[in-house]
Symmetry: D3
Subunit: 341 residues, 6 copies
């Protein structure tokens, strides 16, 4: 069983490439980094429990219903607080990027306190715990509960993974990412990041990469992965997603992984058009957790993660609603998009 | 020119009588007591400026666009703060009442401070200022700015009106309605309330009325109006809306007014089905301000207010989008709902 | 086979009781008095051809597709002209009446000229021709073609029916209804009108009726029907629809008929809520044509017409999409609205 | 824990009172008598497992997701078969009744066979089992599994309830309701029916009742309940829903119950407008099971059931999404439909 | 006049690239291989009759309305049976292919029997009959009626065309495609297939083609066409569509034809983005039938077919709603997609 | 302050790439060449007044509300006439171009007469006036008012700009573009055109350009710009948009400018997919007016115009809703379309 912990928000998205100023209707779903990972893994058939804090109102209840509908367990979700965090999304196209407005201050999760979650009970029967760098960025309380969870997970013998997920606009509660994250990462076994996270959190830079130019080089990230592992010896796996942003509608997508001293790479997918790239990185993590848990071959785990998250870009919403069979069909080289009748 | 001041929120409503837990889309408009009054009056053709504080993001801009589209001036709106207040609405039917979830803590308006609005400039050329009991309930800052506005309005020689609008779930910033409201009401010329406000704010009760039973008696409210005027001699007009809630889809609707020592009553309308009752009271105030400003006869002003707000119940959204001609047609006795070709 | 002739317009309606000023989407159908009659009758299973003139663009083609989908023949529709007429509809509720904006000037039908329709060919195999007072009101050309059609129908031995359908906002081409209509009515066998038509077109008034008060008295219309027949001896049937407009959502509905010297009346239905009353009168005519063509008993024909048009008020759009079985169920007294499984 | 068993179908409903022939979009939910009961009870906070058979495709998976989202357990649902049953719904208004087209032949549940469900495992920890007369009507296999379930439930010491739910269009597999139902009812403790079921299944008639006339008399049903209990001594509770169908938009609604030799009655609600009456009877059963399980007073259980199902008529979809607090508010006499802020 | 025969299904498609598990609304149209051909040809202005069997309910009636609206004759459609076949569609994007769930067992057409269609009457005045390999795959009865139709068409002197259209998931009624198809193809004059059909039905393979790799070579298919013609001497035309599936959003598209001993090829179109590829092959057949019927030059017929079906990929729904002028504009080399004002 | 004058129409667009014949809903916005320029500039924060003539009905009022919502002043709009012009839009994809049906004959603006607009008052405080070649094409009255405006603008010392905007289907009132336009252009300072305008209006051709082949060469247009300036010495700026139409979904886009004797060029953008290209040219003009008014460097003005109008192609509707910051981000080379969080 996988356990993930973090904030899930009400996602309100404009339809049909509308800008927010034009919208007279908003599409309702829910999403957040850790919940997106939970949903990915639940979708592949593994048992999953998601832990968060939600208000005792119909929006909190709707969120739990949403999670359950995708097979994510909600038994350990704490109830309380004043509001659910919200994010507004307008999906871009061509040269116009997507835009997100976060409205998450004062959320139930932001006001969580240590002791509100009974972690030993949560972790009964669990094998894996996943957290991300968003959670300690939200508030002092969230950071403290995140540490509490990681420590309890280690105590219970779980594999601990994290997504560095640096968000510059958060981290306003008094301490910075570089102050808080090391303690948490040092307790983890698996770390995932994108091309910016390592630099922003740990000051570790790749070489020869111009992110804005839309070019990514797997090579350049080997040293990044190695440096991270040298700094955090507990990490026997470091994986990096490699996104080439050619436009809002066209990305290249791949990933690399340094695992037990070896480097693994995966094919690069050309994704066009992008239906919804929010949650793309989370779906990579979901695929990787599934892959490392299921396949004896790390190469296969990485390829599964990359193919799974490639497919995510064609699914509206934060959650990656694809099956193991669909991922394996793409891994097998069939990107033809033929009609399955 | 009318000036109103208060909080306008993003309104997210479920379509088709759905409950919030069922919604996969939400209808987007904006609304709030004082803005609703502004829109009513602008719609009748009078110049109106609305004052509030909105965040400098696309939701704040969309809100201003919405106001301008209905002819409400936005020149004096302050920009700043972190978020726009939000309210979620599910519209009830038959025995199931509508339900509102407020999510307005930490809004730009809640964090307003005295000095942010240049009231003397705002009031240049204005004749009337309207505020409601919601604003001082929101935060200490909002209460202070409300007082600042009322004092400036009086100094500038404007007519000042208020809607008592008691909201039990607000008033959490340290002082109660009965502590704060008297100072503000004592500076006003016109006060409007519904059947509960006078009791909740001032402890003044009608006699022989059972609100839940859906019966209202104009008679019983004469003494309420008189007691309010006795307590606040500045008030030369006190008006009370009279709603009989037979069900979420069927209300009776009327109003009474004590004005310069005389009591005025109006016909009672049977409204069925109710399309949207949010903003019903505000549309009464809008009609009354228009009526008292335009008609020499107070009886006509009251009848205009009651007919206008009767029509509001057939219009989706917070704003009352009806014309003077439409209100006067109903005042003239034509409630036949015939097709206007 | 029934033939009807007139103008069919693109109907653009706001959804969900929205006012036109609020609409960001409009619902697309097509409708017009004579086409509505055609669709009613086609729906009961009789062969029907509809004659009009439509532009040679995709809107004209979409209109023909719409007619054909409901079983109405489009073989004799003339193609040409610059535009299809349009009407905008906002559906009212409670005290707010529905509102129609016509945008039909310069339509293909308004510019029709005699000789464009080959009436003898149209009437081959036909038994009944129906026209309404809207067509001669549109333009001099439309009036001339209407007369051409009525004369050809008489020459071909068809039964000719008309709906007086007075529309004050039309009749702008130079002659008035009272100048033009008599010649046309004098060639007809069946005339239908509502409570206002006879007065507006022929100056014939009922007694003791206050239309705006929402009360109608079948009695009072007996003399109206008799006077019409005295003036136009060709009319062996005059029928009058009796609508009591209590509100936009609540009407009473019935009809009476003077046929071959005898008076027939029908039950009065209480219709609440009204889903769409546009086309209500047309659906009465459709029911009456079907009834008089099918049932030996005039009483049954009238009752069919009234029950059919009662049901129309529950169907969105101009067309009455109900079956003979559904009408007969209501005629049989079952207005219970039980679920048919 | 409650267990219910039966068929859940894909429900495809036209929006906005459209007729099926007009629909270009259909609203997707799922529903079925026994699942509706399960959802009601889960919604009140009791643990519930729903048992059925669904195909191993995305429609089956979507159905399970739907159930889980409302808190209904899906652990014991069997997977297999070729298709999910479907029903098409057009919601009526005024005199036009709603219409249902069933397309359920060959469904996964229709092809269920004994042995596919491990009933002793299902019933571990359960206190109550509910079935309806729809299930044995579907197919020989479904009838056999229903009997298997009832017997296992009795063996496990559960309370067994049934809804007679006679559907004339089913019962095509070779045996009739009157042949099959007695054996099943004879094993049950609680039976619920509407005004037609007892007559259609057992030939037991009320006196002095004209169903089509929209009048129901609680009195007349006392003898019906008594006769049923005399025939099936295992039944210590017989409850009957009392629906007065004035129109598709306006019903009266109540219920009566004969329980351990005493007769209980409840207030009658006037429901107008009806948003969705499908599942109304099921929501009564859900309320009754909750009430009999929770309240020591049978009178309170009946009142809860009637009030709960009254509220259902305002909720779109088959499931009754109301809380215990909402039901109790209505039971307490507050039918005013005021806005809950 | 063209006659086509086969099954038309209710098509329920998710909007906006949603997966079926996410859908709360489904888009309603109708489609099926032979009906799609009929609609294409009707759209070009030729008379067309479509023959099938549909249930006598509102879904069957809606289907006939849909066909008539696009100019397809429904006079000879048989009524009866229990249900209309359904297919559910989720439209893919990028690497995620579209997915179809068929729910067509037990449809009215599957239960058709010889004698239900009066073929000699159907073929009066007709010149061309088209069938596809889907129909004999559905059921023994459908196969028998298909043979009955082909024989009657030959007897009446019509040109007979077929689309091989191999569907592996059908062919469950006892005989295989390779047993049934030869007798039918041997009576046909024109055969169309895609890159897989010839192999699956007749074991005839192209050389040097890797379908999944998204590459197609017109060359390789010459031998396929020749081998088919050698085996079935009645076929004076064999055409093959050439689809290169680069992704669900990007295909190349062309076709080749062997006609009276000569090979014809056409330009290859790069289609991006694909709006709806369902019915792409059918629109090629529709274009080819129109082309061979209208143009003296087979090269022009093939180019028309390829250009027409290229355009189909931009039209939502199964039917190809493009005009002859639009196809000829593309044939003329204008693929610029400029706005036509 | 910028003033623009012309016709704004009700825009009714099909959703989701539907063809007009398929539409059951139309998306409502408003647009027109000169209003689109006004909205662009208002959006960048400059004061703008838009002048037109609109009917005194709810469609005219909705149009004014729409303009105001985007910050465009409506103080000087004349009220009167019978109808608002309408255009119907179906958005193409891949090889199928978008299609527009204009329905603007008899519009309020077409019937405008000199003297209806008080130009000296309009131009108080204004610096810039913009008109396009559409307005004089509409009617004799519109042409006369356009000339009246241009003369008054010159008299008031404003900069005058024009977009040649040749529309072959207009110009039906008696005089041709080549007769009318020279007088107007000769009074202007800035002229903008696309690759066809100069040839159609003035007979000035570029060399070496094949528009349909989707290729454009900035070089070839230098001589065009020079020839225009030689003919109209008042023009110190001539700019030409350079669109390469590869398909309805894929264009290249750039522009060049000859300004005070020097030639400026800009980068070429590859736009894919195009969300909405209507108003693309207008957004170039809006960007150019903003740029020339704001930046001292003409090169920067041109680059701003090209980048701004590139972004327009990703925004649904006629109006370009992008900020200065978004344009400058793209000018700075960031076309990566990354999510802005």
């Amino acid at each position: 069983m996988l356990v993930t912990f973090g904030e899930i928000m009400l996602r309100l998205a404009t339809p049909g490439f509308q800008r927010l100023r034009q919208a007279t209707r908003l599409e309702v779903t829910f999403g957040g980094g850790e919940a997106n990972v939970a949903a990915s893994v639940a979708n592949y058939g593994l048992p999953v429990e998601y832990v968060t804090r939600l208000p005792a109102n119909d929006l909190g209840r709707a969120c739990m219903a949403f999670l359950r509908s995708y097979g994510v367990g909600t038994r350990h979700i704490a109830t309380g607080g004043n509001r659910i965090g919200i994010y507004f999304l307008e999906t871009g196209a061509a040269q116009r990027g997507s835009q997100v407005i976060y409205d998450r201050a004062g959320s139930a999760l932001a006001e969580i306190q240590t002791g509100m979650i009974d972690w030993p009970t949560v972790f009964e029967g669990a094998q894996w715990f996943h957290w991300t760098g968003i959670t300690p960025a939200i508030s002092e309380g969230a950071a403290a509960v995140c540490l509490e969870a990681v420590q309890a997970a280690r105590a219970a013998g779980l594999t601990v993974s994290c997504d560095l997920n640096y968000r510059a606009k958060l981290w306003k509660w008094g301490r910075s990412a570089s102050e808080v994250m090391p303690e948490l990462v040092a307790l983890s076994h698996v770390a995932v990041g994108n091309e910016e996270d390592a630099e922003k959190v740990f000051g570790i830079k790749p070489e020869g990469v111009d992110v804005k130019a839309g070019k990514v080089a797997a090579k350049a990230y080997e040293s990044v992965a190695r440096q991270i592992q040298e700094r955090f010896p507990s990490l026997n796996t470091v994986a990096i997603t490699l996104r080439g942003s050619l436009s809002a509608s066209h990305n290249t997508w791949s990933g690399m992984m340094r695992h037990e001293g070896r480097v693994y790479t995966a094919p690069t997918y050309d994704i066009v058009p992008i239906v919804d790239r929010v949650g793309g990185g989370d779906s990579f993590v979901g695929g990787l957790i599934y892959g490392l848990s299921t396949f004896p071959d790390p190469q296969r785990a990485l390829e599964f993660a990359v193919a799974a998250s490639c497919l995510k870009h064609s699914v509206p919403g934060d959650f990656n609603l694809v099956t193991v069979a669909e991922v394996e069909k793409l891994m097998g080289g069939d990107a033809s998009g033929r009609v399955s009748r």
